[in-house]
């Protein structure tokens, strides 16, 4: 279709075609708005259903539905009242929002809130129960603690929701703000959902931030953390950090003591497209500036590149960190999962078997070899014990 620059009506129609179904001549203004507003889009967060949530079920129509309208309404009202009353009295002791398992909440400063209730500084032990949200404003801070978990400090302007807590699974959702977690629960038990990645504690202390646009960053101070979303895994050991963006998931982690040129190039690479198949200026800079310690970054780059770029990454990685005996160039270029795991362990940053165990036992996950394939939505069902 040709552009009719002098015919406004035709241009308008073509632009409407693009607005309608993205066919026709793209309208630059609409394209700009699409790109600008994409960050506010739904972030494919999982739907969390309490296991005891009533499931829908169809039942054959009974006597009530065969009756005329007025008697039917009256009968329905009586039945409803009786039912409501019996349910209320039967469940009242345990069905209030404040019942069930929960974590201790301490007011550290200001007026943090659980739902709409403010936690006072003199309050002995407030509890955050499953399904409840803890919010801090610009002048308040709070801490969450649990004997089997550890302690999580919540900075101002944060919003945290408790999704799950039982013997083996503890899960919160950080919508926005900053948390500082010191976790002593066994690796893999504590998970934080954010709009752009899921953080899995692998035995550590860390700070996790989520911006209002859903992007985030994690900085590990002890142990290591697994960060994943949409088939991307990033492992962040102590001293390293990693950012994450909605729709893209975790970026490539790096040690914070890496040089500025290295970090800037990595930032550019992360932003420019994460499956580069040919050498880019940013990738060349990353490789030339990398130290042996930056093997952390290069290991992740293996699965974020393809073709000649991956071979280039491997060459530099192998020069800085010699591969273990069982690891071959061909295997790594094919993203052979066991070989990638062996190579990761050669970095001495954490035993990857802990992560693999978590994958298998707690959450369905994708193998590194299939990270480059296009994403396709599928349903996963997980039921906690």
């Amino acid at each position: 279709m040709t552009t009719h620059a002098n015919d406004p009506e035709k241009n308008k129609l073509m632009n409407d075609d693009y607005l309608w179904d993205r066919s026709g001549t793209p309208d630059p203004e609409i394209q700009r708005l699409e790109a600008l507003l994409a960050d506010l889009r739904h972030a494919d967060q999982p739907l969390i259903l309490p296991a005891d949530a009533p499931a829908a079920s169809t039942r054959p129509r009974g006597l009530l539905l065969r009756m005329p309208w007025l008697p039917r309404l009256a009968a329905a009202a009586v039945v409803l009242f009786a039912l409501s009353a019996s349910i209320y009295f039967a469940l009242r002791p345990t069905s209030t929002p404040d019942a069930g398992p929960g974590w201790d909440v301490t007011n550290l400063e200001g007026a943090p809130q659980i739902g709409t209730k403010t936690i006072s500084t003199t309050q002995a032990a407030a509890k955050l129960h499953v399904g409840q949200t803890l919010t801090t404003n610009s002048t308040s801070r709070a801490s969450l603690s649990d004997n089997d978990l550890g302690e999580i400090k919540i900075d101002p302007n944060s919003r945290v929701r408790l999704l799950q807590t039982d013997n083996n699974h503890k899960r919160i959702q950080l919508d926005v703000g900053t948390i500082h977690a010191a976790i002593w629960a066994p690796p893999g038990q504590f998970v934080v959902d954010t709009p752009s990645a899921v953080a899995v504690d692998l035995g550590c202390a860390y700070t996790l931030q989520v911006a209002p646009d859903g992007s985030g960053a994690i900085r590990t101070t002890l142990g290591w953390v697994g960060f994943h979303l949409n088939g991307r895994d990033s492992f962040i050991p102590a001293g390293a950090m990693c950012s994450t963006r909605p729709k893209f998931g975790p970026g490539i982690p790096y040690f914070e003591d890496a040089g500025e040129i290295f970090r800037n190039a990595l930032h550019d690479f992360d932003l420019s497209g994460q499956s580069a198949d040919s050498a880019s200026p940013a990738l060349n800079t990353i490789l030339s500036e990398a130290r042996p310690r930056d093997g952390l970054t290069l290991w992740h780059l293996l699965s974020r590149t393809t073709g000649p770029a991956r071979a280039q990454v491997y060459a530099r990685f192998a020069a800085l960190v010699p591969p273990p005996p069982a690891v071959t160039r061909d295997g790594i270029l094919a993203l052979d999962p066991p070989m990638l795991d062996l190579y990761w362990n050669a970095l001495n940053l954490g035993d990857i078997s802990v992560w693999r165990f978590w994958e298998q036992s707690s959450e369905p996950h994708q193998s590194p070899a299939s990270r480059q394939t296009p994403q396709k939505k599928q349903l996963l069902l997980k039921k906690a014990p």
């Binding site: 708005l33 507003l37 506010l40 739904h42 259903l49 939505k377 069902l381």
Partner: protein, 210 residues
């Protein structure tokens, strides 16, 4: 105990677990399965309709509350599914739950809304969805969102589904139950008004010579 069931869309190459439900099943088939208590089917419906619900809510409530409310809408829909007799009306039925939830949100928020005094938006009756957003990097996005939300209901909802959620016109029609014609008109007129608003906002910034 707080055992949870987690339903979500996820990565490729991974089999659906414990689910006989086909990923390619029609919406009607999924609704019928979900009515029989098939949670994976309900999860698939969530995957298909979460964007629409997100968009509907985003056109009515503050951005920071939208994700919670999306979950809430589906949690409300699940036990009520059995009351839906015509499964083909699921999209409109679900959209109605979302709109009611947004109305309910404002009704409940009113007595506690201590931020009203800071709101200077006198043009829109409802608080701006991005009132609480502060990130400089997305300031322009929020300004555009505010502009969209100042449009009439039908325009803003359709435009948000198109420009924010990335749905095409035919998808919006299929998901919301509106006709193609209505969606196309809403998009056209909404976009026209949005351009005017953005043009007016941009004019004073263009140097003040105008």
């Amino acid at each position: 105990m707080a055992a949870l069931i987690e339903l979500h869309s996820s990565r490729s190459g991974f089999p659906a677990v414990n689910s006989p439900t086909e990923f390619t099943a029609s919406d009607d088939a999924l609704v019928r399965a979900a009515q029989r208590g098939d949670r994976p089917a309900f999860g698939l419906l969530y995957a298909r309709y979460a964007r629409m619900i997100h968009g509907i809510l985003l056109s009515r409530v503050p951005y920071s509350d939208v994700d919670d409310l999306v979950q809430d809408v589906f949690l409300r829909a699940l036990p009520r599914l059995s009351s839906l007799r015509e499964v083909s009306k699921f999209p409109g039925w679900l959209a109605a739950i979302a709109r009611n939830r947004a109305t309910d949100f404002h009704r409940r928020a009113k007595p506690h809304d201590e931020f009203d005094e800071h709101s200077v938006n006198t043009e829109a009756e409802q608080p701006s969805p991005s009132t609480r957003l502060t990130s400089h990097s997305t300031a322009e996005a929020h300004a555009v969102l505010d502009a969209i939300c100042s449009l009439p209901d039908s325009y803003r909802e359709t435009l948000i589904l198109r420009l924010v959620e990335g749905m095409t016109g035919p998808e919006i029609a299929a998901r919301t139950g509106l006709t193609h014609g209505s969606v196309r008109v809403n998009l056209h007129r909404g976009m026209q008004q949005l351009r005017e608003i953005l043009g007016r906002k941009a004019a004073p910034l263009a140097g003040g010579e105008l």
